[in-house]
């Protein structure tokens, strides 16, 4: 009886276990069923994939075998699981790879585009650079570029020729480094505002002396930092020679012009002063006319010579202390004869006790001659010219003015009267004339003295010219 019971129990237990196993298996097959359709699009595994799959296979196998399935089943289950996982993985990887490669391609494309632009820019810059270099090479003037330390960065063939050096030897050195002392005669620093410095050197090729002018400009970067200097060298030997010739010419012309004037003037004055015996009133009258016109001619010649000096920047002052009333007196006396022909009165109003001023007397007389001469020209018969000298309100300078009651000057013309060759608008052609340089010279002389000159006028109401002289 008991043995029958045992058989029953064992049978029941086996049936339950079998049933459970069947249920489990059927579940498994249901889960994996979905993958079999996709197996059709499954790609073949490469050997490396299988190789990579090997450890995974082991893990799955171990996991399933713990469930107590048979080795056969276990193998089968794990194989299928692995296939499914691999396939999914493969798909993901392919997808990712695709995405990545797309992104990569886009980046590459972008990169190559910008590279193309950069290349284009580079080529443009290169051709620009070549163009600039070609321009610099063909500039007739010598061009030297130095860095902030004064070392040569580049120089063009004209500069090489002018300095008698080779650019290759010079790069990295100072411009004048190799010039021997005997070659470099002088190196004058130009004053600010002038046209750069002058370099005088003896040519290394033919021993001729040459004068170069170097006009330099500082090169600044965008932050305003000095990064170097560019110098333009020009050969001014010929110009210098011409300047010298012109100076000599002006000197000899002025000598030639003045010599006869002086001889005539002295001859006339000897007769007029009765040094050479008595003369009749008619003779005296005509000689006076001759003398007067000679004075005007002398003034004109002086003005012209001064103009050429002014232009050459060569006007110099010989100053010494002088009493302004004496200076005014001298000018008024010189022009007295002329003013008398138009019955014009020259009145002097000179403040008492004025200090002496340090001036070039001859030049100030010339200024006054010009101002009073103009006043005579522009004032009708019987007019009045007032020459006034007084201390300025601050007491630091002398104010000298010449005013007349003549034609006057229009406001528009007033600003321009001190310009060279300028003449005030309406003029009576027969009577009033001049060269238009007198006032320009007057301004130059006054400014050389450290003073200022100005004109005030109203059309028809006379004009007043005032200049100041520092005390």
């Amino acid at each position: 009886m008991s043995s029958l019971t045992v058989v029953y129990i064992v049978t029941i237990v086996i049936s339950i276990v079998t049933a459970l196993l069947l249920v489990y298996l059927s579940r498994l097959s249901g889960q994996t069923g979905a993958y079999y359709d996709k197996k059709k699009i499954k790609k073949e595994y490469s050997d490396s994939d299988l190789a990579l799959g090997a450890p995974l296979r082991h893990t799955i196998f171990d996991e399933i075998s713990e469930l107590g399935v048979s080795v056969q089943q276990c193998q089968e289950i794990s194989n299928r699981l692995l296939d499914a996982v691999s396939e999914e993985l493969e798909k993901r990887v392919t997808l990712n790879t695709q995405e990545l490669s797309n992104k990569y391609e886009a980046i590459i494309e972008e990169k190559s585009k910008s590279e193309e632009i950069t290349w284009k820019k580079y080529k443009k810059t290169l051709s620009d650079k070549k163009e600039t270099e070609a321009v610099i090479r063909s500039v007739a003037e010598g061009l030297v570029v130095v860095d902030a330390g004064g070392k040569v960065i580049m120089m063009n063939p004209a500069a090489e020729k002018l300095l008698g050096v080779s650019g290759k030897d010079k790069v990295g050195k100072s411009v004048l480094a190799d010039l021997k002392d005997e070659h470099l005669v002088s190196l004058t620093k130009g004053s600010p505002g002038k046209e750069g410095k002058e370099i005088e050197l003896v040519s290394q090729q033919d021993d001729t002396k040459r004068v170069l002018r170097a006009s330099s400009a500082v090169i600044e970067d965008e932050n305003g930092q000095t990064v170097g200097m560019v110098s333009v060298l020009s050969d001014i030997t010929k110009q210098k020679e011409l300047d010298r010739m012109k100076e000599n010419f002006v000197a000899s012309v002025s000598h030639e012009l003045r010599t006869p004037l002086v001889a005539i003037d002295k001859s006339i004055s000897l007769i007029l002063d009765k040094n050479a015996g008595t003369i009749t009133p008619t003779q005296e009258q005509f000689l006076t006319i001759a003398e007067r016109n000679l004075k005007r001619l002398s003034l004109l010649v002086n003005d012209l010579l001064d103009l050429s000096k002014m232009e050459a920047g060569k006007m110099e002052l010989k100053t010494q202390p002088a009493a302004i009333d004496k200076v005014i007196g001298e000018s008024a006396a010189a022009l007295k004869a002329w003013s008398e022909t138009k019955s014009i009165t020259i009145e002097k109003k000179i403040q008492e006790g004025l200090p002496e001023v340090k001036v070039d007397q001859n030049k100030i007389i010339q200024v006054l001659n010009n101002l009073i001469g103009n006043a005579i020209k522009f004032t009708p018969e019987g007019g009045l010219i007032v020459v006034e000298a007084k201390l300025s309100s601050q007491g630091n300078k002398l104010e000298v003015s010449v005013s007349d009651n003549g034609l006057g000057i229009a406001q528009d013309d007033l600003r321009k009267v001190f310009d060279k060759f300028y003449q005030a608008g309406e003029r009576t052609p027969s009577d009033i004339n001049g060269t238009g340089i007198g006032l320009a010279i007057a301004r130059e002389i006054v400014e050389l003295h450290g003073g200022k000159i100005r004109a005030e006028s109203e059309k028809g109401a006379g004009a007043k010219f005032t200049f100041t002289l520092p005390i």
């Binding site: 000197a251 003045r258 001889a263 002295k266 000096k309």
Partner: protein, 129 residues
């Protein structure tokens, strides 16, 4: 005209000016000798020993400065007044280094020349004492 018994040498290559200057100095009572070149001037100073010299600077061959240098080699004494045609002549500056008593500008009145002459003679006499 009162005779001053003073001999003036006037040196200028411009004979017109020379005549005028001579006439005027003579009218003021001076006795005048003239030279129209630097060389002649040097000889005149050596031979005639004038009391004072008026010397033009711009002359051909030997100019005024050269003549003054030559004169100063043997006569450090005689007052020399420079004659200049114009105020800004740079030669005037060059000449001042050789002992001159003044500059007479041709454009100025003869009276200016006369006062220069008188000052030079007076100074010279005082130095002699």
């Amino acid at each position: 005209m009162e005779q001053k018994n003073i001999q003036v040498l006037v040196v200028d290559d411009e004979s017109d000016f020379l005549q005028l200057m001579t006439f005027w100095l003579q009218s003021k009572g001076y006795s005048v000798i003239v030279a129209s070149t630097g060389e002649a001037a040097v000889e005149m100073v050596r031979d005639k020993k004038p009391n004072v010299v008026f010397m033009d600077l711009r002359m051909p061959v030997m100019d005024g400065i050269e003549a003054i240098k030559k004169i100063r080699e043997f006569n450090k004494d005689v007052p020399i007044i420079i004659i200049s045609a114009y105020v800004d002549d740079p030669k005037v500056k060059d000449a001042t280094g050789y002992g001159i008593s003044g500059v007479f500008y041709k454009g100025k009145d003869f009276e200016d020349g006369l006062s220069l002459l008188e000052v030079a003679l007076r100074t010279h006499r005082q130095l002699k004492k």
